[in-house]
Amino acid sequence: MKINDNCVGCGQCTSFCRQGAIVVMGKARITDACVECEICAPYCPVKAIEVPI
């Protein structure tokens, strides 16, 4: 998963990630705990989470 420049740091994605794999501090950062389940992506209000193709 990649976070693009649209990210405002609202933390919405963090609350939906079941792995606790998103840390936010002004911007989101995906940690090694990510299992690429893609659950978080549609919850981002500014389309900042890009799913790898």
């Binding site: 405002v8 740091g9 609202c10 933390g11 919405q12 609350s15 002004g26 549609p42 209000p45």
Partner: protein, 425 residues
């Protein structure tokens, strides 16, 4: 009438509920998998955090939003906050809270002033109700009346909390309108169940009246026929309607009808859109076993570096946190020039919290920042073009279309109420 609503934020849901109750056929399209926009709950580690707002309505059970919810028949309970307090340094002259502090009730805000300034402010409190000042920023006006820096600090903290702006960015008219509304409608309150208590109740009204709300559904275009709004396009399919209500702000709405709106023909509208200034802010969510504030209102912190105010919503609704825990949330305004330095702004906020709550045990749950296309407010009240657009049968509602009078969700409710009057007569 067939009505399409773009976006299931508070403004969209209020409009949809009101129109469905009046017997219209409603379809709401929401891009996200959840409804409520910046006014719903986010469940996180057993806490009901929020997608935006502080689970607080500026005028509680007496305000325009409460009134509209009642008219709509939405089943919500809003509890008035007991009080607002201000955290003061222990000694006059201290620049911060490091040497200790004491809290004073908001209505004693003149106490720290000199006798002379106190008399002056008592006179102003009476005279300005009759003759509200105009033509300057709040800061300029205060500085022209009272030399003491204290009132500017208090104004910054109040404007930061309630508008996510600084006193030199807000017009004095707007602030006096807010003060007048505080007299008229009363102070803040907390909805039971938090933001979702309200947006969830609105959804129930919509579905009970036969309306539909489709999540994960993005509107890609607004259809215009014979110069009037005629529906929307979703996933390549046209959905015809007699009326389109957009909850996504004027700029994004204009983007969905770019084939019709032209910068030349609608120059005035585009100029108004360019002038809109979204406000930025940071919310820090804390978990604590012992209460950090101890009352259900706002604690203003004018002597902090960045934090403007803090609330503790579990004082009203303990179910917003796991048993035995409190949910306490701080807000700090972010100046436009600091949006590129959010991490530094957050660090200052965290440092403030240490000084505001020394020796208290708390845990930082989540730090949430908002700006640009997902802001605290899309435009400050009184600066947006209102609810109409250049296209008939296309209205904009929400915090980028509040019109005059009323801040935050109260302004949204006033804008929706005015739009409903235009539509329903």
């Amino acid at each position: 009438m067939r009505v399409v609503v773009i976006g299931a934020g508070l403004g969209g849901l209020l409009s949809a509920a009101r129109l469905s109750k009046a017997g219209n056929s409603i379809e709401v399209f929401e891009r996200l998998p959840i409804t409520g926009g910046r006014f719903t709950n986010l469940e996180y580690r057993g806490f009901q955090l929020s997608s935006g707002a502080f689970h607080m309505l500026p005028h509680g059970p007496g305000g325009p939003l409460a009134k509209l919810l009642k008219e709509i028949g939405a089943d919500v309970r809003i509890v008035r906050s007991e009080k607002t307090t201000i955290r003061m340094p222990l000694e006059k002259g201290d620049a911060d809270y490091r040497q200790g502090f004491r809290d004073i009730p908001f209505n004693e805000f003149q106490k720290p002033l000199s006798n002379r300034d106190r008399l002056k402010s008592a006179y102003l409190i009476v005279s300005t109700r009759k003759y509200p000042p105009e033509g300057s920023t709040l800061k300029e006006w205060i500085s022209s009346q009272v030399k003491d820096e204290w009132l500017v600090k208090l104004a910054d903290s109040f404007c930061g909390w309630s508008l996510s702006m600084r006193s030199d960015e807000v017009s004095v008219e707007e602030v006096f309108e807010i003060i007048e509304n505080l007299y008229r409608f009363g102070g803040p309150g907390v909805p039971m169940g938090g933001c979702k208590g309200i947006t969830g109740a609105l959804e129930k009204v919509i579905t009970a009246n036969g309306g539909t709300i489709r999540t994960k559904t993005e509107v890609s275009k607004i259809l215009v026929e014979n110069g009037k709004a005629a529906g929307v396009v979703v996933d390549g399919t046209e959905h015809k309607a007699d009326l389109v209500i957009s909850n996504i702000g004027h700029a994004a709405t204009a983007g969905l009808c770019s084939e019709i709106l032209s910068k030349e023909k609608h120059a005035e509208y585009f100029r108004a859109l360019e002038a809109l200034q979204p406000s930025a802010g940071i919310k820090i969510c804390l978990s604590a076993e012992e209460p950090l504030i101890g009352h259900s209102g706002v604690l203003l912190t004018p002597y902090a570096r960045r934090i403007n105010g803090i609330n503790e919503v579990t004082q009203v609704d303990p179910s917003l946190a796991p048993p035995g825990k409190h949910l306490t949330m701080s807000h700090q305004h972010v100046a436009p020039e600091n949006i590129g330095k959010l991490e530094e702004e957050i660090e200052m906020g965290l440092q403030d919290l240490k000084e505001i709550f020394p020796g208290k045990k708390y845990e930082v749950l989540l730090i949430q920042s908002y700006h640009d296309s997902w802001p605290v407010n899309r435009a400050s009240s009184g600066t947006d073009p209102g609810n109409n657009t250049p296209i008939p049968d296309l209205y904009v509602v929400g915090d980028g279309a509040k019109g005059e009078g009323g801040i935050e969700v109260e302004g949204i409710a006033l804008g929706v109420a005015r739009t409903m009057e235009k539509i329903l007569g």
